[in-house]
């Protein structure tokens, strides 16, 4: 290869043209689809969905991308194929009529065929070519070309012809999917990977603990990057879907908006505004601590705001859930009627884990909710291994986050486990974790709640008692005092006692006050009396003094008069002043 050729190849690789499959998820992990104008080998064991993948590639190509396709079947007749994929919503007959699809069944029956001498597979080429030309096909499926090996004996010729076929397909410029049965220790039984080397997709169908899981992996994809993990995939009534969740990064947009939890007091505990929109809320607690009631509050509040909620109930039917929530005054039935709430109930063990995840994905995409509740998330463990369930829930959380959906996951903590753990070990990836627990005290169990963590907001560190009333959940302060944390009846009785003692002490103080008042009044009365007494005495004394003076003056007057009458001498003056002194 010359330098310019290498350069040309490199630049071509950088923008390797791809043919989108239209299969949800597959285009994401292949970063755009299958290599356009080249062949892709899809291999896997029996019943893992090779034919379906190939068929969907064609049908979607024809219906969504305007690329007609040829399906050359070596194993199933056209009628069988049509019938088989009708259950997935593909109407092949119509597509054939519209000249968007051509089906050709190639039957190779060894017992009918005798080989003498040299031959080639020109007949196959001619048929394929005729089919391609008839509808101007851009896509071709050969399912399963290895059937030729069982029909024809001369492997040398076959291999040479296959090589020529793949070369020819490339020259034709069609995007081809070749399916192959998985062999022992090799990707395909007949080593097809030797010829089709641009892109190889391996499908796998495993049964672990009686639950089947389908997975796919891109073994190689020349000239492009691709997701290299094993991705679970589903086959359901809408066809094939791959869950490329591990390809999700942590690049989701964050939201400063807050959503109410539906319980005002709980909102208060989280900075007064509730959860962040698009965050993941985990509610964990032991049995009967009111997890579902809490979620129902959240849902009802959201529906009242006009938001759409999707509720995955793994343990209760929609009817049961609405009935139970009515008992605490929540009318979920109204939300359902308004079309804002969709409760999807399915037993966790009913499907495999991937199927659940796929279902959730699909329903989320169809219903487009703002809020998703999964109750309880731990039930999924029963649908798969613990590790798988953990992975799956991480994927689910990432998926919901990427869509800005507020997720409420409910986790049941079983008796033996530590309260602050989740069975599926997702506690580190949730944003807000509310812990519900029961407090056993004074012969009764009461519910308590606290915010174990809540990223990015101020949140209360207080334990709150959590009471289910006829009007929903109510949060109360717990009693924290010298007797420890009290809830329920103990709290109530203590509060009553406190109220009583407060009352009596108030009464006591009032009584004392009255006493004082009375004393003061008595004192004042006394003072008044004394003053009165004094005044009387004072007046009396003054009166006496005046009388005395008057008497003395009278006496003096009398004496002077007497002296005058006697004609006394001047000495009397001295005697009078001496008497004056004595009288004082």
């Amino acid at each position: 290869m010359s330098i310019t050729q290498v350069e040309a190849a490199n630049s071509a690789n950088r923008s390797l043209p791809k043919a989108p499959t239209g299969i949800p998820g597959l285009d994401e992990i292949t970063k755009g689809g299958l290599p356009r104008g080249r062949s892709t080998l899809v291999c896997g064991s029996a019943g893992c969905g090779k034919t379906l993948l190939a068929m969907e590639f064609l049908v979607r190509g024809a219906t969504e991308y305007g690329e007609p396709g040829v399906f050359m079947a070596f194993e199933e007749t056209a009628e069988e194929l049509t019938q088989n994929v009708r259950s997935l919503g593909f109407d092949l007959t119509k597509l054939i009529k519209q000249k968007k699809l051509a089906l050709d069944f190639v039957r190779v029956e060894r017992s009918e065929i005798e080989e003498t001498g040299e031959y080639d597979l020109e007949g196959l080429f001619i048929r394929l070519n005729a089919a391609i030309e008839s509808i101007g096909a851009k896509r071709v499926v050969l399912d399963t070309i290895e059937a030729l090996f069982s029909g024809l004996q001369n492997e040398g010729i076959l291999r040479a012809e296959l090589r020529r076929l793949f070369r020819w397909l490339k020259d034709k410029g069609v995007t081809a999917v070749i399916t192959g049965e998985r062999g022992e220790g090799t990707l395909t039984r007949r080593g097809l990977e030797e010829y089709v080397s641009d892109c190889v997709i391996l499908l796998d169908h495993r049964v672990t603990d009686q639950v089947s899981t389908r997975r796919m992996r891109i073994v190689k994809y020349r000239g492009t990057t691709h997701g290299s993990n094993e991705y679970p995939f589903l086959i359901d009534q809408d066809g094939f879907s791959v869950l490329p969740i591990t390809s999700l990064g942590l690049q989701h947009r964050v939201n400063d908006e807050r959503v109410s939890s539906g319980i005002p007091r709980l909102d208060d505990m989280m900075g007064g505004e509730g959860f962040y929109r698009g965050s993941t809320v985990l509610i964990s607690g032991t049995a009967g601590t009111g997890k579902t009631s809490m979620a129902a509050h959240f849902v009802q509040a959201a529906c009242e705001r006009g938001e759409r909620c999707l509720y995955f109930a793994f343990e209760e039917s929609p009817g049961q859930l609405t009935r139970n929530m009515r008992s605490i005054g929540l009318d979920l039935g109204k939300c359902i009627k308004k079309g804002l709430l969709n409760i999807h109930s399915s037993r966790a063990t009913f499907y495999g884990l991937e199927m659940h995840l796929g279902l959730i994905h699909k329903m989320v995409q169809q219903f487009n909710p703002q809020i998703v509740v999964a109750d309880p998330i731990g039930a999924l463990i029963t649908a798969g291994a613990r590790h798988d369930a953990n992975l799956m829930i991480v994927r689910l959380i990432d998926f919901l986050k990427s869509r800005g959906i507020t997720a409420m996951l409910i986790n049941l903590t079983s008796g033996g486990d530590s309260l602050e753990s989740t069975e599926i070990e997702i506690s580190s990836i949730v944003d807000t974790w509310l812990l519900l627990r029961d407090v056993e005290l004074g012969g009764e169990r009461n519910r308590a709640l606290y915010v174990l963590k809540s990223r990015g907001m101020k949140h209360s560190n207080q334990l709150r008692e959590f009471v289910l009333t006829d009007d929903g959940v109510e949060l109360l302060d717990v009693y924290v005092g010298p007797e420890g944390v009290l809830t329920g009846s103990s709290r109530r009785s203590l509060e009553a006692r406190e109220r009583a003692s407060a009352l009596s002490s108030r009464q006591e103080s009032e009584r004392k006050q009255r006493e004082r008042q009375r004393k003061r009044e008595a004192l004042e009365a006394k003072i008044m009396a004394l003053r009165k007494e004094f005044e009387i005495e004072d007046t009396e004394t003054a009166l006496l003094a005046t009388e005395e003076r008057a008497r003395r003056e009278k006496l003096e007057d009398d004496r002077q008069a007497m002296a005058a009458s006697r004609g006394a001498d001047k000495d009397d003056g001295k005697a009078r002043s001496r008497r004056k002194l004595n009288s004082k």
Binding site: D104, V106, R107, V108, S111, E112, I113, E114, E115, T116, G117, E118, Y119, D120, L121, E122, G123, L124, I126, R127, N129, A130, L148, G151, L152
Partner: protein, 116 residues
């Protein structure tokens, strides 16, 4: 009629219909080719020789060129070229290749006992 003809084994149908072997039943043969390749030419020549030897006078060969009539390939489930199809007598038999190996061709046409 040649001596070898009487040795032709009875097919199941022949037995079922109690039809005596070697009687003048019609052989309807179709040879599928793709253009005038040396291999097709060889196949036709080999077929002609074989028929003349074993089925003189009661055979009919139709040569179909798939390059001219590609739509005919599906009808007889033709993959390999050249393919000889025995339409009659029933059941349908197919022989792929240029019929170079006469013995195997005869076995394939059930004109000689073989593994089939």
């Amino acid at each position: 009629m040649k001596k070898g003809q009487t040795k032709t084994p009875l097919t199941l149908e022949q037995i079922a219909q109690d039809r005596p072997a070697g009687q003048a039943e019609k052989w309807d043969l179709r040879l599928y080719v793709a253009g005038q390749t040396p291999r097709s030419v060889a196949a036709f020549a080999n077929l002609k020789r074989l028929c003349e030897e074993h089925l003189a006078g009661r055979y009919n060969i139709e040569v179909i060129d798939l390059i001219k009539h590609p739509q005919l390939a599906a009808g007889d489930q033709i993959l390999a070229i050249p393919t000889l199809v025995r339409k009659l007598p029933q059941p349908i038999r197919k022989i792929v290749g240029d019929l170079r190996d006469t013995e195997r061709a005869l076995v394939g046409l059930q004109l000689r006992p073989g593994k089939n």
